[in-house]
């Protein structure tokens, strides 16, 4: 029994050390990425625009159709559930308040974050992992090209720019879709719904969602990169770390969302 306890404690200790180590690696990677962004030109390794644009197309523009579909669906779902719940009190006309605030402050950033984590975070982890096992990362290093500057900074910048924009787009689509359902169900006009939105929503609500989406952008990139850079064990390792990056990124997003809401809305 003591030896089993010993083994358990041993595993627990090792897992803790690995977690702390990974967290430290993520933090130093993020710091290094910001350093290259600021100092790259002075070090004759500027961060170039073309790869950032290519990443922005891939992360943002290519994801627009699916974001539109999902955001519209979420808007409709909120409207259906909102009217159903409020009917209990006969307060269906107040449904816009709930839809507007929950969409802009929570659902849009969250659904955008989860979608981007599944689409682009995993792709980033898989790409880096494959590059690592093919010695492509070593090849960059020995060419005198910083892998962080070349491989991490472009997706980080692209993500940081595109995520808030996509969240804004998701806000618009979601509110519009909800409006269609609400106005049809409550026999009011879309214009009246829009008017109500304008009186309810303040800039602060939008900023709350957009600020969160910027944090999600950094989280998704760093989690993807850390998992990709830690790949070992060939193709199976790439698959394992890609899955891990999606799970970690989505968990990080949801937990950060809660912490952010707690800190800011109290």
């Amino acid at each position: 029994m003591p030896s089993r306890l010993h083994a358990l404690l041993d595993r627990l200790g090792h897992a803790t050390i690995r977690a702390v180590e990974e967290f430290g690696f993520a933090a130093s990677l993020f710091g290094e990425a910001l350093w290259w962004l600021a100092m790259g030109r002075a070090r004759r390794q500027p961060v170039r625009m073309a790869p950032i644009l290519a990443q922005a197309m891939e992360i943002g523009i290519a994801a627009l159709p699916i974001i539109t579909v999902l955001a519209g669906t979420i808007g409709l779902m909120l409207a259906i559930q909102g009217i159903y719940t409020l009917r209990t009190f006969g307060a269906e006309s107040r449904v816009t308040l709930g839809i507007a605030l929950s969409t802009v402050r929570e659902f849009s950033p969250l659904i955008t974050g989860i979608l981007v984590a599944g689409r682009s975070g995993s792709a980033l982890a898989a790409r880096l992992g494959t590059m690592r096992i093919n010695q492509e990362v070593d090849a960059l290093t020995v060419m005198g090209i910083s892998p962080v500057r070349f491989l991490v900074v472009p997706p980080l910048v692209a993500m940081a720019v595109m995520m808030p924009l996509m969240t804004l787009w998701a806000d618009l689509v979601s509110l519009f879709a909800a409006g269609l359902y609400v106005s049809a169900q409550l026999q009011t006009s879309l214009a009246a719904y829009g008017d109500e939105l304008l009186t309810i929503l303040r800039l602060n609500d939008f900023m709350h969602g957009l600020a969160k989406s910027s944090i999600f952008a950094a989280l998704i990139t760093i989690v993807g990169v850390v998992n990709g850079a830690s790949v070992s064990g060939g193709a199976e390792g790439v698959g394992r770390m890609t899955t891990r990056s999606v799970v970690h990124a989505i968990s990080a997003i949801i937990i950060t969302d809660m912490v952010f809401a707690f800190m800011v809305t109290r």
């Binding site: 070090r43 010695q135 020995v142 060419m143 005198g144 090209i145 892998p147 962080v148 991490v152 830690s230």
Partner: protein
């Protein structure tokens, strides 16, 4: 021999990975303009030695000087500068799979020089001509054969006209004819460009064909270092076993044998790899 005439100088290099002693007191130098072959069987430490020479690993003790600079003591800007003066052809080629062959070869030029695209295109095609891959610049690495990948990797390694070239197993996994053509290419590169070339290989025929001097590594130690004739004539039994492709008699150690049977592992760590990023 002055320090300036040596392209590579390794002094008393020791490396450990966990409890395993991987390289034991390795010292060698590569002279300006020579082809230096590091030879050894699997697990002899030659890949680890190469990774140290490339600055991908940090030694436990000892020093490595490339082109007169200690790579573990210079500041990052100088290291970046030094790396533009050396080229590396990896065993797997390590071509970037998302870029065409031409873009792969042009990458160091685009990153380290201010040349315009026309010039970069000309230099790229020039290097492809050197490795007999002219006209293949638009193909993706996945569309190339094994020998073509090695040659494209060589083209990328020499695109900055390096003073020092490293080749990791240039002929491994190729048929004898293609392997011989890669050997000829390495000889031509040295003759035409005067670069010092370090080749890591376990291929005896290739080593004897191209080497000026050979270093035989075994179990992390330099077993012998000398010209091709000196190595051939070496009285050392382990070298003769290697040269004549004889398997070595396993040493009889009943204790170690028992420990293995009992499943007691010693030094179960993996081979050290390069930095994650």
């Amino acid at each position: 021999m002055t320090a300036a005439a040596n392209s590579v100088e390794v002094r008393n290099l020791q490396t450990y990975y966990g409890h395993r002693h991987i390289l034991r007191n390795v010292s060698l130098e590569v002279r300006q303009g020579e082809i230096f072959v590091i030879m050894g069987g699997s697990g002899s430490g030659k890949t680890t030695l190469l990774n140290h020479l490339l600055g991908l690993l940090t030694p436990s003790s000892g020093s490595i000087r490339l082109l007169g600079r200690d790579i573990n003591a210079i500041d990052p800007v100088d290291k970046q500068d030094l790396r533009t003066k050396m080229g590396v052809a990896f065993q797997s080629g390590a071509l970037f799979s998302s870029m065409s062959v031409g873009d792969n070869i042009a990458l160091p030029l685009r990153e380290h020089t201010n040349l315009d695209e026309t010039t970069i295109g000309i230099v790229t095609r020039l290097k492809l001509e050197v490795v007999a891959l002219a006209g293949f610049e638009h193909l993706m690495p996945a569309e190339l054969s094994g020998g073509m990948i090695k040659r494209a990797a060589l083209a990328r390694a020499i695109v900055m006209d390096p003073k020092l070239l490293f080749c990791d197993e240039p002929s491994a996994g190729l048929d004898p004819v293609v392997a011989a053509s890669i050997d000829d290419l390495i000889l031509r590169l040295r003759d035409a460009m005067g670069m010092s070339i370090v080749v890591v290989t376990h291929d005896l025929d290739s080593a004897f064909k191209i080497a000026d001097r050979i270093c035989v590594l075994d179990k992390g130690e330099v077993l012998a270092l000398g010209s091709v004739d000196e190595i051939r004539a070496s009285p050392n039994e382990r070298i003769q076993n290697l040269l004549n492709r004889r398997t070595e008699e396993a040493e009889v150690d009943p204790d170690a044998y028992l420990r293995r049977l009992m499943g007691i592992k010693e030094g179960e760590e993996d081979e050290p790899q390069g930095k994650p990023l």
